[in-house]
Amino acid sequence: MSKDGSSSFFTTKLDAFVNWGRKHSLWPLPFGTSCCGIEMMATLCSDYDMSRFGAEVVRFSPRQSDLLIVAGIINLKMAPILKMVYDQMSDPKFVMSFGACASSGGIFNVYSVLQGIDTLIPVDVYVPGCPPAPEGVIHALLALQRMVAAGETHSQKRLLAAKQA
């Protein structure tokens, strides 16, 4: 980095290369709780293959994955567990809020449902739908890939701010 804080040619080219690698090998952590879990499985299966975009290796451990796909309802009972799983992932980590229930509580505005996971963790992509069609999920994945390449996700911005500070 140069004296005024801006990145040099080589750092930005390196960043771009690293981000290119990152976006084409996202390792999802499927946090599927309810109906959206089935559509997530449909997206990962052979008809709407998500492995075409590099997101094939599903790892059920937060230590080994970088994309947290929250598919399904998050309860007030489940919320601390979601936070725990999110905290255990290492940077850079991306969050996809899959479905209406994860994005905003969906059709369930009741005493036991968290009205959107963005009250708890920073979300990068929201996929609307109840449940979203697999085409919508793939669209969201491509949007997330664009964000990762441009360094616009919450996690990457946080890392950059930490580096510059």
Binding site: L76, M84, V110
Partner: protein, 176 residues
């Protein structure tokens, strides 16, 4: 369903002969807007009646459901109705038993008859606050253990959120 009315009537007659004084009311389909005979009982003979129905000739041995209803109405001495739905695999008929309780009153548990009643009664306790005496392990089941209030009561708000910052811990004594 009205074609089974005679069989039901004979079963209810048998029940009345055995437990006449505990049966408060019987509503038969046709006279009342119900689909199966509904028998309102006093709670002290609940287990005997259920055992009678389970083991006698009518053999209502399949416990379909245990639930409760909050009939919060002014001026009534009772508040909740605990509902038992039974099914007979031999005669292919159903019957419903109801026990009326006031707030704070307890109901005898039917776990000695059906082991599956364990969780159903825990759910009734969790949702309504009705205590089942003699239950081996009466704790909340759907809600967090630290939840205050009973959600399905009529005075509990639909959006009554209660936030917890950590997940509930398990007591080793709960393992069976």
């Amino acid at each position: 369903m009205l074609e089974h009315i005679e069989l039901w009537q004979s079963q209810v007659m048998e029940l009345k002969e055995a437990f006449g004084e505990s049966i408060l009311e019987v509503r038969m389909p046709g006279d009342f807007p119900v689909d199966v005979p509904v028998i309102y009982l006093e709670k002290k003979h609940l287990l005997e009646v259920l055992r009678f129905l389970k083991e006698r000739e009518c053999r209502y041995s399949f416990l379909s459901d245990i639930t409760a209803t909050d009939e919060q109405e002014e001026g009534l001495p009772w508040r909740f109705e605990v509902v038992y739905q039974l099914f007979s695999q031999i005669s292919k008929l159903r019957i419903r038993i109801k026990v009326r309780v006031a707030e704070g009153e307890t109901v005898p548990t039917s776990v000695p008859l059906w082991a599956g009643a364990n969780w159903a009664e825990r759910e009734v306790y969790d949702m309504f606050g009705i205590v089942f005496e003699g239950h081996p392990d009466l704790r909340r089941i759907l809600m967090d253990q630290r939840w205050v209030g009973h959600p399905l009561r009529k005075d509990y708000a639909l959006k009554g959120f209660q936030i917890f910052t950590d997940s509930q811990s398990i007591d080793p004594s709960w393992l069976k």
